[in-house]
């Protein structure tokens, strides 16, 4: 018998050996779906403006820089400002993405990431700029995948990660984020999907918080209010 069969046989044998007395085990009916778990997860405001404000608040405590822009022109200007402030030499972004359009007027070296990009080149750029699949108000997280994030490395190898998102991408909570993933991709999920919650960090030395352990030291989220999807009154996020 190969290991697979013998492990499965042992599992079946073990499970035949009587059910356990633990109370939780008898609760058999587990309805899935967000309706069941929302009531105990951290609370999220019902209104969109409240959700934007929560995302801004979470970002601040996570040390994510959160910038809100009226439109794409404003987002381009924001990128130029960032570039000047941080002294960017070059940025990398996924080939064939809208990011290229946003960077048209921005004076900085540009690397379009594709199959042929070498990892040492990617490591040297000043920032990686990507889109995303969603922003999660509840946790202040960015959800991105190999598809929306220009592969696996672009959002983690450069020292600064900039995410460009639209208002319509903001979802209230984690259950909504998983619903979105399933609707958008199932059954052909990208091979890599990740929730990014703040810049890389560690507390491994005397539990002192240090940013930029292995991933980006800085995370900037630029939220673009694109036409048609945004509600009228948006609370302004605190200045970064």
């Amino acid at each position: 018998m190969n290991a697979r069969d013998s492990i499965l046989a042992r599992v079946r044998e073990a499970l035949r050996g009587g059910s356990s007395s633990h109370p939780a085990e008898s609760e058999t009916q587990l309805a899935d779906g967000p309706r069941e778990v929302r009531p105990f997860l951290p609370k999220v405001p019902d209104d969109f403006a409240g959700q934007v404000a929560l995302f801004a608040e979470r970002s601040e405590s996570l040390k994510t820089e959160f910038l809100s822009c009226a439109d794409e022109a404003a987002a381009s200007a924001q990128l130029q400002l960032l570039s000047d402030r941080e002294g960017w030499e070059s940025v990398a972004f996924p080939a064939d993405s809208e990011i290229r359009g946003l960077l048209t007027g921005v004076s900085v070296g540009k690397l379009e990431v594709s199959r042929s990009t070498v990892k040492t080149d990617l490591e040297k750029v000043s920032a990686g700029i990507t889109g995303c699949d969603a922003l999660i108000a509840q946790t202040g997280s960015v959800l991105l995948t190999a598809k929306s994030g220009g592969g696996r490395a672009l959002s983690v190898l450069p020292v600064h990660h900039v995410v460009v998102a639209t208002y319509s991408q903001l979802v209230p909570d984690l259950p909504a984020a998983f619903e979105l993933l399933e609707k958008k991709y199932a059954p052909n999920f990208p091979s890599f999907m990740t929730f990014i919650t703040g810049p890389s960090r560690t507390g491994d030395i005397e539990r002192v918080l240090v940013l930029g352990a292995h991933g980006p030291r800085k995370l900037t989220v630029i939220l673009v209010e694109s036409a048609g999807t945004n509600p009228s009154s948006i609370e302004q996020p605190p200045p970064s």
């Binding site: 290991a3 599992v11 778990v37 105990f40 997860l41 951290p42 946790t139 592969g151 703040g198 292995h214």
Partner: protein, 465 residues
């Protein structure tokens, strides 16, 4: 007494005497405690979350065979390879053969306790492979040739001064007392390792059956780099990591973060479901998933303690445990320290050699109370004690209990024995806490309670007469 037990006694005694060390551990953990309670407070109902998590894990365990098959099938469909390992030897030799076949010159690893469990690094290094631990804490203990101190905070026992000395010695770094500077030294060193590595090894916090994905939780980004850059990605995980549905992560991720580090969500929660697909830009060419049993089915067969397989290795039970806080992580001599380690190690590595850990407990129940998946930890410690005695009581224990039973079953004899002991107690006082004291094993480090002037039986008699 087995050697692991006497080793434990010696190490625990030494550590308990080290006040500086104890203070340091208490201090690190008090920060955790604060962060954790404020984030558990964010949950609208932490208790319901615990029940839901426990029930979901139980569902996975109850149908473990089916879910494992589903997990495997989905992964294979997406181009990953799945290897099943009965034990540590099989898992090690699969990974070793793979490293040889790929002619891996450099291997980078992100934190995985299962690899500690199977002693993977030693095996790889002995075979001539260069392995680098990339999690900062693991990197530090690897440089010190030490085992991780804690399943979540591997280097929590070290001061910045010790780490600075270590980096000076091993990496030629400048002396510094700044944790940030130390972290940056590690970052620079490890960057080179990621770029050079041709094989990356990670663990997994969850294995989603529904979609055939592993989920990795981390703060540093090292697991992301490890699963992004090298050509071959190896995932090593225990068969108990299964979750039925992808959406189950919507509460397991924030619960793990809250219980583990006191964060609302850990910095990176990544789901990986195969090697790079045809249309993707980057990612490994191959993904190998090693599913390890290594004693887990033995635990599964124990209906009484099966719930220990729910464990998500958050480390919360260690953090609140008065024993852990005083003897520290290394004294356990196990891969998994603290209450959960004391519960499962006898199942994984033999009851007689490891039952002493279940004796080292005040049974205060803090672990059970804090556990996010409601494992009945302190009762399992008690059951381990019972099972150990039932399986093989020492002649001393047998004799002791037989004598005790003989006496307490005879009221007259019992009353006589109590009175006799009372008479002897002033005599004992003369030798109290000296090696001549018959109660020396107890009195050398504790007070012997003095006899009450009147026994319960005396009082009872007075009351009824």
């Amino acid at each position: 007494m087995a050697s692991s037990a006497s080793q434990f006694n010696a190490d625990a005694t030494r550590m308990v005497g080290d006040l500086g060390h104890r203070q340091m551990v208490q201090q690190s953990l008090s920060g955790y405690q604060k962060a954790r309670s404020s984030n558990a407070g964010r949950f609208q109902d932490w208790e319901s979350a615990r029940s839901r998590a426990a029930a979901t894990k139980d569902e996975a365990i109850r149908h473990l065979d089916r879910y494992l098959e589903q997990f495997e099938e989905k992964l294979i469909a997406r181009g990953a390879k799945v290897f099943w390992a009965n034990d540590a030897t099989e898992a090690r030799s699969y990974i070793l053969d793979l490293a040889r076949a790929k002619q891996a010159k450099a291997i980078v690893k992100s934190k995985t306790m299962v690899s500690e469990e199977i002693h993977l690094n030693e095996a790889l290094e002995k075979a001539g492979f260069h392995v680098v631990e990339s999690d900062l804490g693991e990197f530090i203990v690897q440089l010190r040739h030490e085992a991780p101190y804690h399943i979540v905070f591997p280097a929590m026992h070290l001061t910045r001064g010790q780490i600075s000395d270590l980096f000076q010695q091993k990496l030629g770094a400048e002396a510094t007392s700044d944790p940030e500077a130390l972290t940056m030294t590690a970052r620079r060193t490890l960057r080179q390792a990621y770029i050079a590595a041709d094989m990356g090894i990670t663990g997994a916090n969850f294995a989603v059956a529904e979609t055939g994905m592993i989920s990795i939780t981390e703060n540093e980004g090292n697991a992301r780099l490890t699963s992004a850059l090298p050509k071959t990605h190896v995932v090593l995980l225990g068969i108990e990591k299964i979750l039925p549905r992808l959406a189950d992560l919507s509460f397991f991720l924030p619960m793990l973060a809250t219980a583990g580090t006191g964060q609302q969500l850990t910095c990176y929660n990544s789901m990986v479901g195969g090697p790079r697909s045809a249309e993707e830009i980057d990612g490994p060419e191959e993904m190998h998933v090693v599913l390890l049993d290594n004693g887990r089915t033995r635990l599964l067969a124990d209906a009484e303690q099966r719930d220990a397989l729910r464990c998500i290795r958050c480390g919360a039970c260690l953090n609140v445990c008065p024993i852990f806080r005083n003897v520290g992580g290394h004294a356990y001599g196990t891969t998994y320290q603290g209450p959960i380690g004391s519960v499962i190690t006898p199942h994984l590595r033999g009851l007689q050699s490891w039952q002493h850990l279940s004796q080292a407990s005040s049974l205060c129940g803090a672990c059970t109370e804090t556990c996010p998946v409601k494992i009945d930890l302190h009762h399992h410690l008690l059951q381990n004690r019972r099972n150990a005695v039932a399986e093989k009581a020492s002649p001393f224990q047998q004799l002791g209990f037989r004598a005790f039973a003989f006496v307490v079953n005879r009221p007259g004899l019992f009353a006589f024995a109590v009175r006799a002991m009372k008479c002897f107690s002033p005599l004992q006082r003369l030798f109290n806490a000296t090696p001549a004291d018959p109660a020396w094993p107890w009195t050398k480090s504790r007070e012997l309670p003095s006899f009450a002037r009147k026994s319960f039986r005396d009082l009872w008699k007075q009351r009824t007469s």
